[in-house]
């Protein structure tokens, strides 16, 4: 890369980056915020920010890392802005009328709702762990928090989810 304007000449031009990474950016926001409209807003904001900083993109790998980090930060900012508005509370997660079995869509929806009830830090750690398949060290780097905190967030969240699922009659296969 020779200068600020040269990024558009590379294979990782802006339209290509949007096409390639929109599902990653949108999904980080969607799974964290549990709101498709807000997730779209955040995703657009992330890509607009990329557009303004396109000159600093050094490689496709750098673009992914940059987008993921900004998506995480903007999602957390959006969640903090809406804190005064009602969010998903555990009591709002209705008991399913039929007992969801492992592997079915009902269980996936229940899990998404339960994750939406987790506090901010653990919720984002879970999204990055299971959506993005990042290991705890990578999550710590993206979120800018200590590795031990990430491990603790994931372990406690898993334990909490197991407990909540067990209460709903969902257990091991």
């Amino acid at each position: 890369m020779t200068g600020a304007g040269s990024a558009v000449q590379h294979a990782w031009d802006f339209a290509g980056l949007v096409r390639e990474h929109r599902s990653m950016v949108f999904s980080v926001a969607y799974h964290f915020l549990h709101d498709p409209d807000q997730a779209e807003e955040v995703a657009q904001d992330v890509f607009l920010s990329l557009h303004r900083n396109l000159g600093s993109v050094e490689s496709p790998a750098h673009a992914v890392h940059w987008l993921r980090k900004v998506a995480v930060q903007r999602s957390i900012d959006a969640a903090r802005r809406r804190q005064r508005r009602p969010q998903v509370a555990l009591e709002d997660v209705a008991e399913p009328s039929t007992r969801p079995a492992p592997g079915d869509a009902l269980l996936s929806e229940l899990l998404r709702k339960l994750i939406a009830t987790l506090p901010e830090g653990p919720r984002m750690a879970m999204v990055l762990r299971y959506q993005e398949d990042l290991d705890p060290a990578e999550i710590a780097e993206v979120m800018g928090i200590p590795l031990g905190t990430v491990k603790s967030h994931i372990q406690r969240s898993l334990a909490l989810l197991r407990e909540k699922l067990a209460r709903r009659g969902v257990g091991e296969r």
Partner: protein, 94 residues
Amino acid sequence: MDWLEQELKNALSRKEPLEGFDERVAAAARRPRVVAMPARRWLAAAAAVIVLVGAGEGYRWHRGEVAKQQVMLAMRITGEKLSFVQARIAGEGQ
């Protein structure tokens, strides 16, 4: 990876945004950017206004005090002069 972690991977799989996302982003990128003043700048501007208004009020109060002292001095001089004239009139009358 146990059953719950596998279920979490399914539940949190990536999703595509609504149709037309790329076009919406491209359109937004073409729009001229309105730069909002950051909160810190708002605070600095507000602090400057408060300091200026405060300084103005302080100056007005100081000017008022000076004027008040000048009026008091003028009244004291006038009083002294009147007493002097009154004493002279009384002396000449005797």
